[in-house]
């Protein structure tokens, strides 16, 4: 089934965390009398509180839902449950019933201006290099985003006009309301970013500076997104992805693959709002290029374990539009242990990271493999080229402290604005995964 969403997209359209919790039990295939999906629609019948089952349908291209239940909340828990089942591959492909097809045809939003081309046919085209997002499609999406971006700009303006010391900054609703508007405007990634910044308020003595820097980057992104048609294709795609454009996995997988021996060098789990996000960092042996595979788990779901740190495979990765780090894994053959990666000095690694950040200043994580010593205070890495603060939990710091008794360390790290987060300690005959791990009470064991 092509064009299937990712779990985070379902969460992004949910009106609240409680709605997802209510939907989860209904997402089991046994709950549904019938289900089906095609390249535009998902539909099903589910028993509810009334004698007559509810008919539910979702137009997953235009993101419109319908349900015969009495709930005033949209999307209702039945629509969310149907989407969850679809995302998990529990909904079979089938031709839509006539009533659903009629609704699907009628639910398409009208064109937003007379000269705007019709939305492209969402059905998969024969294999062709699709890497850049089609400009017409992009223009259509810009129009949808514009309203949210203008609201974001106004909100940012208000924050700086009133000041970060204003009590409104400390209220979560100030941020959450904006995030909800951005979700409505289908700028899910911007919404997540706003919620992440909200989490910085009041944390540490210097939180005003940290929040202000993030507000500046939000402004930069919003401005870039508002001028998207004027940007070069690759940058426009990168901005689009950073604001939350949804790219079909099938389109990504239909792109030209990068074939290499890919070494899984690091893993990092982060809770983002209601979802646990796993980033796996891979590096190509021949190209030396980095890549990132993202996976997600909602409450009590298992995170993807298909890319253990310290392994490698010969195979294809497909980059998302914009030629950034995010990839999907295609063909995989010949799995084996990863070899010890080439390491750089701290200055060389930060120089490379700085170049990438200069291209896309909103990037907030980048990988590197470095060889350096642990500082005497145990809180920084140091080598002849300089020192960088470590951002790590007690366990990772303890592992580094023990390992450092033997001399300099080879580490795969994740650069974040606050410093370097150690992910993997490379020893002579093994790797030690010390990246941040998901809260075991949140995710299920695989």
């Amino acid at each position: 089934m092509d064009g299937r969403w990712e779990l985070e997209q379902v969460h992004a359209i949910a009106p609240s965390a409680r709605a997802i919790e209510a939907a989860e039990p209904l997402a089991a295939p046994g709950q549904w009398l019938t289900t089906g999906c095609d390249d535009r629609l998902v539909w099903g019948r589910v028993r509810g509180g009334r004698a007559e089952p509810y008919d539910v349908a979702v137009h997953h291209v235009d993101v419109v839902t319908t349900c015969t239940c009495a709930s005033r909340q949209r999307p209702c828990k039945h629509a969310l449950a149907l989407l969850l089942a679809w995302v998990r591959g529990d909904v079979p492909t089938a031709p839509p019933p006539a009533s659903v097809a009629r609704w699907g045809a009628a639910s398409r939003p009208p064109p937003e201006s007379d000269d705007r081309p019709a939305a492209p046919d969402p059905r998969p085209s024969p294999p062709a290099p699709p890497a850049p997002i089609d400009r017409h499609t992009r223009d259509d999406r810009i129009a949808r985003l514009r309203e949210g971006l203008v609201a974001l700009e106004q909100w940012l303006d208000d924050r700086l006009r009133l000041g970060l010391a204003d009590p409104s900054v400390a209220r979560y609703a100030t941020w959450d309301d904006l995030a909800a508007r951005l979700v409505d405007a289908r700028a899910g990634a911007l919404a997540n970013r706003v919620r992440r910044v909200a989490g910085l308020v009041g944390v540490g003595d210097d939180w005003h500076a940290a929040v202000l820097e993030e507000l500046g980057l939000l402004h930069l992104l919003a401005n870039a997104a508002l001028r998207l048609p004027d940007l070069p294709d690759h940058l426009a795609d990168a901005v689009g992805l950073a604001t939350g454009w949804q790219v079909r996995q099938a389109d990504v997988l239909a792109g030209v693959p990068e074939t290499d021996r890919w070494h899984v060098l690091g893993r990092s789990d982060t809770r983002e709002d209601r979802i646990e996000v796993r980033r796996c960092w891979l590096r190509g042996e021949r190209t030396g290029r980095w890549a990132m595979v993202l996976s997600f788990a909602a409450y009590q779901q298992a995170l993807d374990r298909s890319l253990p740190v310290g392994t490698s495979f010969e195979g294809d990765l497909h980059r998302y539009p914009g030629d950034g780090l995010r990839v999907l894994v295609g063909r995989r053959v010949g799995e084996s242990a990863a070899s010890r990666p080439e390491a750089r000095t701290l200055a060389a690694a930060l120089d490379e990271i700085g170049r990438a950040v200069a291209q896309e200043p909103w990037l907030d994580r980048l990988p590197a493999t470095v060889r350096a010593s642990l500082a005497a205070d145990g809180r920084a890495l140091t080598d002849g080229s300089g020192s960088v603060r470590l951002v790590a939990d007690d366990r990772a710091l303890r592992v580094l402290t023990v390992a450092a008794t033997e001399g300099p360390l080879t580490l795969t790290v994740e650069w974040v604005p606050a410093g370097l987060r150690p992910l993997t300690l490379h020893l002579a005959d093994r790797v030690v995964d010390i990246g941040p791990t998901a809260d075991p009470s949140f995710v299920a064991a695989a």
């Binding site: 940012l156 970060l164 980057l217 930069l220 005497a376 080598d383 300089g386 020192s387 023990v402």
Partner: protein
């Protein structure tokens, strides 16, 4: 004026808000030109543009601080690191069969292995109470050693007949964590031959196989 000074001034203005404090004029240079190019109509918009430009510059200009003193290196330890397979056993027994921890550590010591840093960190960071081991009184150890084979036959009979259940589990687990390995191997092999294994027998076989494997991995 350095970038840090400009940034501190910008943060101070943002803290108070442009309704109360006019943003400072940037010193001449590329940054000032960039902000001027944006032609923002209000003070708050000008500050926002300044913040965005400064944030982009500060992040992309990320560079290491001056080198600092490294942690001293200790004299070379010639012992080989615990084999990778044995470290995998460690993490498995930590999750499921903590009763085997003392023996794993004894084997490491006895055979002259060096602990890897993740295991040392794990041992250091865990509260001492979290070991999950029921110590076997020293007086019982010779008994376990002497009675190994007879023990297996009796255990198998009782497990097969369903005379042993969850109430006996802690005793049996501690017994299998301490009994002779030949008796243990016999017990595990016998249980694994059963077509239908009661839950308790299955758990005991799992414990037994992990213990046998761990001994094999740590014995040079």
């Amino acid at each position: 004026m350095s970038l840090d000074t400009v940034w501190r001034d910008v943060v101070a203005t943002a803290l108070l808000g442009t309704d109360r404090r006019e943003p400072a004029v940037l010193p001449p240079g590329r940054l000032a030109d960039l902000v001027a190019d944006a032609v923002d109509p209000t003070a708050s918009r000008r500050l926002l543009t300044t913040v965005a430009a400064l944030a982009a510059v500060r992040r992309s200009a990320t560079a290491p601080g001056p080198p600092v003193a490294p942690r001293p290196v200790e004299p070379h330890d010639p012992r080989p690191l615990v084999p990778v397979a044995a470290v995998d056993d460690w993490w498995r027994l930590r999750r499921e069969w903590q009763v085997l921890e003392p023996e794993w550590l004894q084997l490491v010591e006895r055979h002259g292995w060096r602990l890897p840093p993740d295991v040392v960190a794990d041992l250091d960071l865990r509260p001492p109470a979290d070991r999950g081991v029921l110590p076997v009184p020293a007086s019982l150890v010779p008994l376990l050693d002497a009675d190994g084979t007879g023990l297996v036959a009796g255990l198998l009979d009782d497990l097969a007949a369903g005379r042993l259940g969850p109430a006996h589990r802690p005793v049996l687990v501690n017994l299998l964590a301490r009994c002779r390995t030949d008796a243990l191997a016999e017990l595990v092999a016998a249980i694994e031959r059963w077509e239908a294994r009661p839950g308790l027998a299955h758990a005991l076989a799992d414990l037994g196989s992990l213990r046998l494997r761990m001994i094999e991995h740590l014995t040079p």
